[in-house]
């Protein structure tokens, strides 16, 4: 291996450390600034106070946005998980012509810009109001990315599960559906959790479709934040951001803990 003790190794290391600071520093800055006792956003923070948290938690826009986002992301995660996993099972457990092509097609929304998807959907709903505006419309729109995300996680997981497991269960007397639920599903659990977490976090964090398709009445938290960040450099925005960072951290740790059990 390239020796990390050589001068060259040290250069690499130094660059890596700087990159790390660049990567995570801003998140740290925002958390620190949220505790500042000043009336404006200050970094390094001056004093220590929780008043911006109090203010944020008392602000109905943020609270409402948070619960809208929670409902949105929760529903999207569950629906994406069911639809995506069903498709992943069909794509891995059944043989039919064009299977590989279908797989690539289903994953394609992931490589296209979110904003283009959002514009196309805006025009589409204007012409064909297939879903009521606001949250329902946003939920089904997020499926467009949520389902491929679940597929991308579940396809390799399913490919790793020995198909003989289900056959063994059938051989021992379990009807096909029961065999799936008794032996394949438990083997998929860590993957299902990761997939759901990914779909949840996508939907919770997404802003383009939310801006285009959400209604003002139930605007998700990212839209509220986007608006607030544009308006003023308000420390409450930092407090809300810090809480979102904490939420992300909890989710990531939970997902890792579950995967490494």
């Amino acid at each position: 291996m390239i020796s990390l003790r050589s001068p060259f190794g040290w250069v690499l290391r130094l660059m890596a450390v700087l990159t790390f600071i660049y990567l995570l520093g801003p998140l740290f800055v925002i958390v620190a600034a949220s505790f500042s006792d000043t009336g404006y956003l200050a970094f390094p923070p001056q004093g220590f106070s929780l008043r911006w948290y109090r203010q944020a938690l008392g602000d109905v826009r943020y609270l409402n946005g948070f619960f809208v986002s929670l409902r949105l992301a929760g529903t999207v995660a569950v629906l994406s998980l069911v639809i995506g996993t069903a498709a992943a099972v069909a794509l891995t457990r059944f043989r039919f012509p064009g299977r590989a092509l279908l797989e690539a097609i289903f994953l394609s929304p992931l490589v296209l810009p979110g904003l283009v998807l959002a514009v196309a959907l805006t025009l589409f709903y204007a012409a064909h109001p297939v879903a009521p505006p606001g949250l329902p419309r946003l939920i089904i729109s997020h499926l467009l990315v949520g389902v491929p995300l679940v597929l991308r996680v579940m396809l390799p997981v399913l490919k790793r599960v020995d198909p003989a497991l289900e056959e063994a269960a059938q051989n021992l007397g379990a009807p096909p559906l029961q065999a799936f639920f008794l032996v394949t599903l438990p083997a998929l659990k860590p993957g299902l959790f990761a997939a759901a977490a990914l779909a949840f976090i996508f939907s919770f964090d997404e802003v383009e479709m939310a801006l285009f398709l959400g209604s003002a009445r139930d605007a998700p938290l990212t839209v509220v934040l986007y608006g607030a960040a544009q308006m003023q450099m308000d420390p409450t925005v930092a407090a809300v951001s810090a809480m979102l960072i904490l939420l992300a951290l909890i989710l990531m740790v939970a997902q890792q803990a579950y995967a490494n059990r």
Binding site: E167, A168, A169, N171, L172, G173, A187
Partner: protein
Amino acid sequence: MTTVSPELVLEGLARRYGSTTAVARMDLAVKPGELVALLGPSGCGKTTTLRMVAGFVEPSEGRILLRGRDITTMPPHKRDTGMVFQSYALFPHLTVAENIAFGLQRRGVPKPEAAERVARMVALLQLQGLEKRLPKQLSGGQQQRVAVGRALVINPAVVLLDEPFSNLDALLREGTRIELRRLQTELGLTTLFVTHDQAEAMAISDRIAVMNKGRLEQLGTPREVYDRPATRFVASFIGRANLFVSTDGQHSEDGIALGAPGPGTWLLRPEKIALDAAPAAGPGSVAGTVEVVSFLGTGAQAVLRLPGGRALLVEGPAALADLRPGAPATARWTRPDLTLIPGEN
């Protein structure tokens, strides 16, 4: 001779994938308590045959009868077969005891009875103390025994094994196959056993079904297929073979004084040949040059290069290994040592 009605019958069973024929119109009857090995080279259709019996592959033609019932179109979970998979397919989230109990639960066997049957199986397979372990906490040999136990505990009408020993090392493999044979005879299990290892098939089965390119070439006891192979393929796949084609019986096509009773394809097993230093004299003898000798422990093997260019394989006592390569030697055999292969005429 009383006829026992067979437990498992395959009638003209065939399976095609597009233009390839995996199994071609196969007829086979397995008697109660009998172990039949499906033996053949890779790709000859063994697994396909086994999976048709288990219900995972739909036959293109033919019927499968189990205990007199036609199960050809019955879904796998309703057939009464117990399969041991090559990969074992142990349920990774269930313990050893739960794996073994799986089939009993599906059959609605009451809890106390199920627990008792699991315990008996655990004892029979010497898995005591491992009941609470997960499959990944077991050695390969232990996993293999759990897979066998899980298939046997439900008392299936027929046990199906697909190369169950292929993931074990050579030493363990021999011990395990003796164990399996003991268990199978003790419990009187009707068994279909897939292997591509002829020594394994010889050691374990009542009868061997030798397959080649999807066709059943010969069905017989290990002795029968060894001593009286029906085809050239069987002769060379089971044991080692020196084969001679002769139009008059006197000489083979390549000019060796065969001394056979008539025309045909003749098999001369290497262990039937004697080597000495005297010159060749008449039918049943040929002089050549020793090319390679190898000492095998229980005996030795020599390759004799004959004047026509062909090589003759000879097996005999360990003393054979004392021959020096390059030395002249004469191979001898008698008429009864030659076996006619009927399938080749």
